[in-house]
Structures are given as structure tokens and as C-alpha cells.
Symmetry: C3
Subunit: 453 residues, 3 copies
């Protein structure tokens, strides 16, 4: 009876853990919304906010209907290395009155928050000119298909790619991506890059005249969003151990490594910003912090702190380089979503192939006999993990491109991909959403009304 | 000894659960503050923020002195179906050095956050013209009296109305309201409607001239608030199971159903907004999400996901209809608090009478022999639950009207209910709070000062 | 085996507890950022946000390298009453694969959030004129040295000052400071006061002309920040019990007392504000809430609710008096950081010497034979605790002054402490960070660009 009590408590604790972690990760949606809203022009503010609240609405519905099934719908007699194929519309999962740690409704909630974050990434890159329809189609593709499929590859114990695969792991190792440098950020970042290229730059963005008018309309909002995201990443990364009951040491490691990677990214960009321009750019530092956080996702549970610092530093530099490259290529990405999530995400995945510390891998998967680990630590078969990481990155990019290009290109052909120049000039808020987001000059009218009243 | 250790761990986990849930629910206060502040004119922004921070101050004091006692001050030898009557000023509760799950201080904290949310609802409806005094009186009435009394009826095991009543349940069923579609939202929404009617419209609101000057001053803030509230609802609804140790499966169900109801509400209003106007209204979508969340509160632990989708869809339509009705009746409710909380709250309570799934009710109350459940599932005595839900709605509306009309009407008689036309024209910030909330034009003055300096 | 399972669950629960509490406390950084940003002029908004995100970056790095070592780097064979001296760069702590409640990585995360909050306090006081360099130096001093040292004195079981010292406690009692009225707020508040004095007032602040141009640029942001901080304090104070498994009753007490102190502080200042000026000041009420919260930190686990109300009331009055004093002394502290954190922090520490309730102290430290408690409860040796509290306050102020004056004074001597008058007039955003935070007038430019396009 006492043993049953312990087992029940264990289930309850793991449920509470994913419940709160999911709620804190859900707050990241607000972080993204603030960041992108602040980065666009004021005449698109309400439109951007709308898109960000529509994203979890759409992803929630898709994840319920088929997303969770594609991602985690595998059981021992119905497994598939590419996609899951049970639990459509959560049946019979939603009717269970018992708890299984790998197929409970709280896991649906938790994984939904990841799917939603993943689908949100693209919104920043295509903001101010992609149509509402194009954005919603992209959200369905990324949150409902791409993320679920990739998460199955990496995180399901039957997926072909992941470190936790039960048998026959890739290169005898499998790719390690605890919290999604690859699954979430490379997926979302690829969709952002493809989206930004397909929708093209905003009207007037690369004209001859000054580009001042494309400066962010509210830096304070951007900074608020960055803070919300940083706090969210603490939960995002540490809760990716899923069951706190037997991974609490690893969860603590995730917290410290996540913190240090963010710190290193921010301070690196503070320095780089000063060296490459005449000022300390607020936006560069914010993005540096985020690049560190994106990069450490994959390895936060299996590296030593100095590796986390290295990861944060390198990923912020990668971000900075990618951002300069997109600017040179005249790819208009108002928030730098592609450099941030794709650049730093790929960086994090690759760096993991060097930094993963074998004893911590063994700690995470005690049943396995061999843990080659990162190149820094040699071991008996160096390079196996790194190879798997590279295959993971290429595979993720490929599947996302394959899934998202056709529908967006189709929308382009029929003229439904982007707003017209006139609509962009007017601003989406005025053109499509009933008016401006900000109304600060109302006194005179009120005075007049009072007289007539 | 091990069994005692398990019991202690169980108490600790339940405490931590309510501790964090309460903290996340407390953040909903910020959500309301942002939503209402964004929805009013800029000249009332600081005043609205002040009211929202005064609300938890007042409710906290009332809940300490008598609110918790009225709500949960019942023990086996001192029970009462209408109000609790022990634990005044938390004595001797606050001196306990042991934990009881039904009378611990962490429960006081948790239930306080509900009382505070409930009392906050009215602020949006009466904003920009109700006096500080009138607002504070309303907060005392709703947070200190109405919510505690109604929560006793529904959630105390001695209350006359609730599903969890130990003996002699209403119609042999009792009303089911897990997280407060009725207890929180019908209570708060009724106070909002009564308040908005009694204080009347803002000066100039329904004059002949354009109503543009009453458009929200900052849509971005409204959207921020909606995001905060959505995240809060995840904790609000799932933590309403109170003890996670023996309700963790139900908590997961709450999360998924709450998510789906919000998604359905938002997407429904996106469509409705486009069909009934020429644009996709940001505010309609935000309110649609919230209407779904309000509606699912009562049933989130006992329905299947498709019922949650249905609930969200219907409640957002009910909200939309009620909002049009209040506009036609020239009831000035700047944020639509009454349509949202009263409309969708009543909707949620009634729909529960159709959708409650008997096996989940049995799961929640395993000791009971009969669970008629919702009309959709027939059973041996259909309609008992629906009947109880209807009695609950009518009773809650009645008691709130009885409690709040006399004091507000009294204030109206002595001229202390609303600000004068001049004060409203000037704006509450300038008139009562020492100046405007926003000060963006300061450079010139600074330059002058520098010269003189 | 079952007993081992219980022990493991206990470690897991305590880890999850500090994980989520730390994340909620980390959100307080955003609260501070919003509060200070709203309180300064719009031309410094981006600069202030930057400083607030740089703070956790710098503190994180310092805490990793030496902060945690100084604070908690003590083990039984290597203890020191003044500073810890093991675990430099978290070695070998970061390589542990087992959990110890007093030296785990999750504790590093949790204590880091306290260090970061402590270092942030000064930013408000020196804002708009201290250089980025001076701010960063201060952050290193406070977050990397002062807080760790003081936390060792008070919270390490080997520190010379604290109530939990294993043997030879100060005056046979030791000072009691559960959540840091002294360790966090007196430390941070002293640094704020010293900083504000050394950097001097902002250019033009105390000239003859009107001071209107120094009014906060966005009261809404200040209120948002206050809400974030209030929610954060709930986690900050209750999680300071560290191990929820054997302190869950105390945690509940912390929540209720923290709530009541905030309520009392806010309502007191609402009244005081009306009595001492012609209006209800929004900022006074916000600061009143915060003063109550700061004051109750030290005693929230060991006092009865009426003492919490008393603490909140007195600390808000102390804040108000200190704020008037700093204004009269022409110490320019744009957010009142020194009156708030130093004033109310000292108040809270001293009041604890009166209000600490012996049975609750016994509950917290069951192994000790004597608990004199606060003066209100007499006991066998009254005044011992109060004496220790006074020594704590004086010692903390002294060490902070000693640590922070030399480097800031040095920067002053070499002209790197503050921005020039011209730079201040232009605003830090324009002068150092690449442009204004707000860009609301972009249409015309866009129209021109469209023509050229």
C-alpha cells in the first residue's frame, strides 16, 4: 500500500511539474508577441498581436486533432520511425482515467506549448506583409505537421533519429536534442527563412532613401518580450527532462547551463555591438541573450558549465554573422527570426556534438551500454554523436522546406500571399483590423462632444 | 515511518501546488489591469491601474478578516449551508503548526486569488466614471461578501448548492462548477452589469457625434492582458482540483479542455468578426478566447475534448450576442465585462448540464453511488444536473444583485457614485491622481532648464 | 526500497519547488525593468531596459565563478564565519550526479535569482546619468561580492550572524531574516543610496525652473512592474523556506503574511497620499505595496497575521518618511529605490525583533532548545533577537559601503562615473544606444519611400 502511495505521488509530482512548466512556456507566446510587436511599425501593432494569439488557437486545434498523434502516437504494437499513428483526436487518450507518464493529457498540454512556440517563430520574419491567410497556413504546417513529425523523429522512443531510440540508433548513437535547438528552433527558424524569402521584403524596405522608417516602433516592448522569453526558457529547458522524479539532478544542470548560455550570449553581443558600431545596441544584446538560450536547448542537461558559456558565446556570434548575411542578401526579417532560431539552433545542435559529457549522457540513459559523447571527450568512437547531430540538422531543414514551400508558393501564384503596396502603406491595422492600435489624441473630440451633449 | 513520510510528502506537494497556482493566478490581476487600461482613454490609464492594484489590497484585507470565514469556515460541528462561521481573522487557523488540506493557510492564499479575480471583473465595466469610493465599496461587496458566500454554497462540503455536498444534494445531484464559471464569473459579471447600469454611460458616450474618441487607447496593452489571462486560466482551472495528489488525471484533463475551449472561442470570433463586419477585429478575437475560457471553467475536469470545443464555440457566440445587446441598450461597458463574464459564465454553467461525462464525475467523487451527468449522456435520471445548474445561476445572480444594488444606489443618492462631466472630461488621472500617465514631450523643457542651470 | 523511493521523491519535489520559484523570481527582473523604465524620461527608456537585462548576465557569470562559492561554499571541514571558500566555478559541484539539498545546482539557480534582484535595486537610483561602465561595476560589486558575503553571514549554517548558525549564535539568538529584508533589500538599498549620492542628481533636476520634465514618462509601465514584483514576492518569500517537504506549513504562513503586508502597505499609502497632498497618488500606492512586501521578507514565516499588517503599515510609513527626506536632501533617486529597499528593509529587520513568534521559530528550528523571539512575546531573555537584528542591519550597511564606495569613487576621479550634461540632455538612448526607444511617426517617410520605390 505504501509503495502504491509512492507511485501515485510520483505521478502527481510529474503531472504538477509539466502543468506549471507548460504554463510558464505558454507565457513565452506573450514574449514573442511583445518582441515582434515592438519590432514592427506602429501601424502593424494590433495585427501582429492578433497573429500571435491566433497561433496557439490554431496550433491547439491541430495538435488535438492530429499533431499529438503524429508526434507521440506510438505504442509498442503500433510504432513507426517516421510518424506516430495512434491517438487521433486524442482518442482514446482523453477518456483514460489512469495516468501513464508517456501518454497523459498533461503531456499533450506540455508538448502543445512547444508546438505553439515553434509555429510562432515564423511570424516575426514575415510580419507586416504576409496575409492573415498565409500566416495561418504556415502555422498549420509548422505547428500541426512539421514540429510533430520532427518531434517524433527525435523524442519518441520509436523515432529514427533520436538518442532515446530503443534499438538501432543512428550511427550507434542517435542525435541528442533535449529541449529543441533542432526540433523547435531549426524547425521554426527554417520556416522563418523560407517564409521571409517567399514573401519578399516590405514595400519600400530596400529603396534608396533612408531606412529610418523601418526602425522598431517600441524598443521597450522588445525588451519586455526578451525578458518573458528568458524566464520561459528556464522552464522550457529544465522541464524537457519530462519526469522530474528521476531527473532532478539533470533539471538543476539545465537551469544553470541555460542561465550561463544566456549570460554569455548577452555579454558577447554587448562587446561585439560596441566593436562593430559606435554604440551599444540594445537589440543586439537582447538577441545575443536569446541566441545563447536557443543554442543551449539541445545540450543543457548533458554539458558542464564551461561548455554552456562556450555555447552561448559561439551561438551569439553565429547569430550576428547570419543577421549580417540576411541583411546583405536583402532578406527582410524584421526581428531576425531566421538568424536567431535557425542560425543559433544549428549552432547549438552542432556544438552538442563536441560538448556532450559522457557521464551525464549515462545519467540520462542508464540502460544503455555505450555513450560516445562529444568530440571533446574522445571516448571509444568519436564523431558518432557529431555525425548524428549533422544528419539531424540537415533532415529537419529538408522536411520543413518540403512541407512549407508548396503551400506558400501556391498562395503566391494565386495572389494571396502578401498585402499590396497600398495596404502595406496604410498598415494592416487600418486596412484589415478596424483601426489603429494607439489612440492618444482624443481630448479635443471629447470636448466637442461634451458641448453637443 | 515510511507511511508518515509519504503522508508528509503528499501534504508538501499539495501545498507547493496551490502555492504556485495561486501565484500564477495572482498574475491574472496584471492581465485584467492591462486589458482594462488599454481599453479606456489614455487620460484614465493611471487611474485604472491604481484601481486594479487597490483591488487585491482591499480583497486581501477582507478575506483575512471575514471572507475566508464566510467561504470555508465550516467544520463538522459548526456547519451551515449558507455561510461559514468559524476562522474569523483566520483564528485559530493562522496559529496552526500542522497542515490540514481543507483549512491550511496556503488554501487561504489560493482562494484569495479567486476572490480577487472575482472582485476585479467589475472594474472594467464601470471604468472612467465610477468614483474611487464607489469602486472600493464594490470590491468589498464582491470580494469580501458575494464571492465568499457563493463559494460556500458551491465549494464547501456543507454548502446547499454544490456537487460535493456531503448529504442531501440539490435534486439528488447538486450543481457542478469546478473552477467558477458560476462562482467567479457569474458573480463578477453580474456585479459588472449592475454596476454599469447604475453608473450610467461615460459623458458623451452616446451623443450624436462620432464615437471615435472612445476607442481603446492602446490595443497592444489589451492583447498583453489577454495573454496573461489565458496563461492564468491554465493554472486557474487545473488547480481547482485543489489536491493534485489524488486528482492528477483530472488536472491534465482540465489543461487540455481549457486550451481547446480558448482555441475554439478565438477562432469562432475570428470568423464571426469577418462575417459581421468588414474586418478581422482584434478585440473580438481576444474576447472570443476569453469567453471560451470563462465558459469551460465549470466543466473542464469532467468533459471530453469535443465538449470543450463546443463549449468554447457556444460561449464566444453568447458573448458576441450579449455584447451587441448591451450596445443596443446603451449600457456603457468599456471592456465588455458583463457580456464576457456574465454571458459566457451563464453559458458555461448551463452547457455543463448537457456535457458532464458521468465516468469523470465518478472519478472526481468516487464515494458517491449515483452520477446522473449531463443530458447528452442520458443516464437514469436525466436533467437533475441541468436543473441544479440553472438553480445555481439564478441564485448567484440574485444574491449578487441583492448585495450590490443597495450600497451603490445609496452612493448615487448622496452624489458619490460617479465623477462629474468636468472631471470625466479632464480625465481621472489629471483630476484625482496628480497628472497624466504618459509624458513623452520633455526635451524642450529640459533644454531650457539646462540653460538656466 | 520504498524508503529510498520516498527520499528520492522528496529530493525531486524540493528541486521542482526551487526550479519554479526561481523562475517566478527571475520574472521580478522584468518587474524592476518595467518600473524603472516607466519612471525615467522616454529618452532613457531603451538604456534602462538594456541595463536591466545586462544585470542578470553579469550576476550570472559572477555567481558561477565566485558568488555561489562566497555565499554557500562551506562544508563541514571547510567552514568560515565570514565567507565560503569552496565550489569556485561550481567545481566539483557541477559534476555531481547526486543531489544534496544544500549544494545542488538548483540551489545555485535559486540563489542566483536573489543575487540578481539584489544587484538590480541600485539601477533605479542611479538611472539616466550613471555610465554603463559604472552600472556594470556596481552590479559586480553588489551581486558578485556584497550579496554573497552577506548571504553567507545570514543564511549559511556557518555564518557568524544568522539564526540558523549551528553553534555559538550572536547573543545566543542570531539574526532572523528569512527572505532578505536585510540580506537582499538593505544590501541593495544601501548600494542605491550610496550610488545616488555619488553620481549626484540628473542635469537640471534641482534647478529653479519647473520639475515637470522629470515626471515619469509612462505610469502604466510602473504599475505593470509593481504587479510583476508583487507576484514575484509571493514566490520570493514562500520559497525562502528552501525545502518545501518539511516546511510546507511555514510556506503557507509566508504567503498569507506576505499578502497582508502588501495590502496594508498599499492601503496605508492610499490614505497618507490623500492626507498629505490633494490627490491619490498612484506612485505612492505602488510604493506602499512594495514597502510592505520588502518589510515582511525577514519575518514572513514566523509572525502572526496581525503582525504582518503592522509590518506593512509601518514599513510604508517609513518609506514615505525616507522619501521625503531624500527629496529634501536633494538626493536624486528617480524611483525611490533607497527609501524603499533601505528604509523598508531596515524597518522590516527591526520590527522582526518585536514580532517574531516563538512557537513558529521553534517550528522552523526544532533542534534548538531556546527561542527568545520578539519583544512582544517576552520570553526568558527579551531583546536578544532585537539586538541581533540591529547588529545585522549595521553590519550589512557597513560592508556594502566599504565595498562599493572605493570603486565608484575611483570612477568619479577618472571621469567615468556619469554622463556629461550634453549626453544627459540628448538622452542615453540617442547618445549611446543608436536611437530613440519609441518611433511613432513614420508614415510620411514611408509614403515618400513608396513614391521613390
Amino acid at each position: 500500500a505504501v509503495a502504491a502511495g509512492v507511485a501515485q505521488l510520483s505521478d502527481a509530482l510529474n503531472t504538477a511539474f509539466l502543468l506549471f512548466a507548460g504554463t510558464l512556456i505558454f507565457q513565452m507566446e506573450l514574449g514573442f508577441a511583445l518582441l515582434v510587436t515592438g519590432a514592427v511599425r506602429h501601424k502593424s501593432a494590433a495585427s501582429v498581436m492578433l497573429l500571435h494569439i491566433v497561433t496557439p488557437c490554431v496550433v491547439g486545434l491541430c495538435y488535438y486533432m492530429f499533431g499529438f498523434a503524429l508526434g507521440f502516437g506510438s505504442v509498442s504494437d503500433n510504432n513507426n520511425p517516421v510518424v506516430g499513428s495512434t491517438f487521433w483526436v486524442l482518442t482514446p487518450l482523453a477518456a483514460f482515467d489512469t495516468f501513464t507518464s508517456s501518454h497523459s493529457l498533461v503531456l499533450v498540454w506540455f508538448q502543445f506549448t512547444f508546438a505553439s512556440v515553434c509555429a510562432t517563430i515564423l511570424l516575426g520574419a514575415v510580419s507586416e506583409r504576409a496575409t492573415l491567410l498565409a500566416s495561418m497556413v504556415s502555422i498549420v504546417i509548422v505547428g500541426g505537421l512539421a514540429f510533430p513529425v520532427v518531434s517524433h523523429w527525435m523524442w519518441s522512443e520509436y523515432g529514427w533519429l533520436g538518442y532515446g531510440k530503443l534499438t538501432g540508433r543512428l550511427f550507434g548513437s542517435g542525435a541528442f536534442d533535449l529541449a529543441g535547438s533542432g526540433v523547435v528552433h531549426v524547425t521554426g527558424g527554417t520556416s522563418a527563412l523560407v517564409g521571409a524569402i517567399l514573401v519578399g521584403p516590405r514595400t519600400g524596405r530596400y529603396g534608396d532613401s533612408s531606412q529610418d522608417s523601418f526602425t522598431p516602433h517600441n524598443v521597450t516592448l522588445i525588451c519586455q518580450g526578451t525578458f518573458m522569453l528568458w524566464a520561459g526558457f528556464a522552464a522550457f529547458n529544465s522541464a524537457s527532462v519530462l519526469t522530474i522524479t528521476d531527473n532532478f539532478v539533470a533539471a538543476g544542470r539545465c537551469l544553470v547551463n541555460t542561465l550561463l548560455a544566456g549570460c554569455a550570449g548577452g555579454l558577447t553581443m554587448l562587446l561585439v555591438s560596441r566593436l562593430t558600431s559606435s554604440h551599444y545596441s540594445v537589440l543586439d544584446v537582447m538577441n545575443g541573450v536569446l541566441a545563447g538560450l536557443v543554442g543551449i536547448c539541445s545540450s543543457c542537461s548533458v554539458v558542464l558549465p564551461y561548455s554552456a558559456l562556450l555555447t552561448g558565446t559561439l551561438c551569439s556570434l553565429i547569430f550576428s554573422g547570419c543577421e549580417k548575411a540576411t541583411a546583405r542578401l536583402k532578406i527582410d526579417d524584421p526581428v531576425g527570426a531566421a538568424p536567431l532560431h535557425l542560425g543559433a539552433g544549428v549552432g547549438g545542435m552542432v556544438i552538442t556534438g563536441f560538448t556532450a559529457y559522457p557521464p551525464f549522457l549515462r545519467d540520462a540513459f542508464p540502460g544503455r551500454d555505450s555513450h560516445p559523447g562529444g568530440l571533446f571527450y574522445g571516448g571509444d568512437s568519436p564523431g558518432r554523436l557529431l555525425g548524428a547531430q549533422l544528419v539531424a540538422v540537415v533532415s529537419i531543414i529538408a522536411v520543413v522546406v518540403l512541407l512549407i514551400v508548396p503551400p506558400l508558393f501556391g498562395l503566391k501564384l494565386i495572389g494571396l500571399l502578401i498585402y499590396t503596396d497600398e495596404e502595406q502603406l496604410m498598415g494592416a491595422d487600418e486596412a484589415f483590423h478596424g483601426g489603429a492600435a494607439y489612440n492618444f489624441n482624443t481630448e479635443e473630440t471629447s470636448a466637442d462632444m461634451l458641448t453637443t451633449w
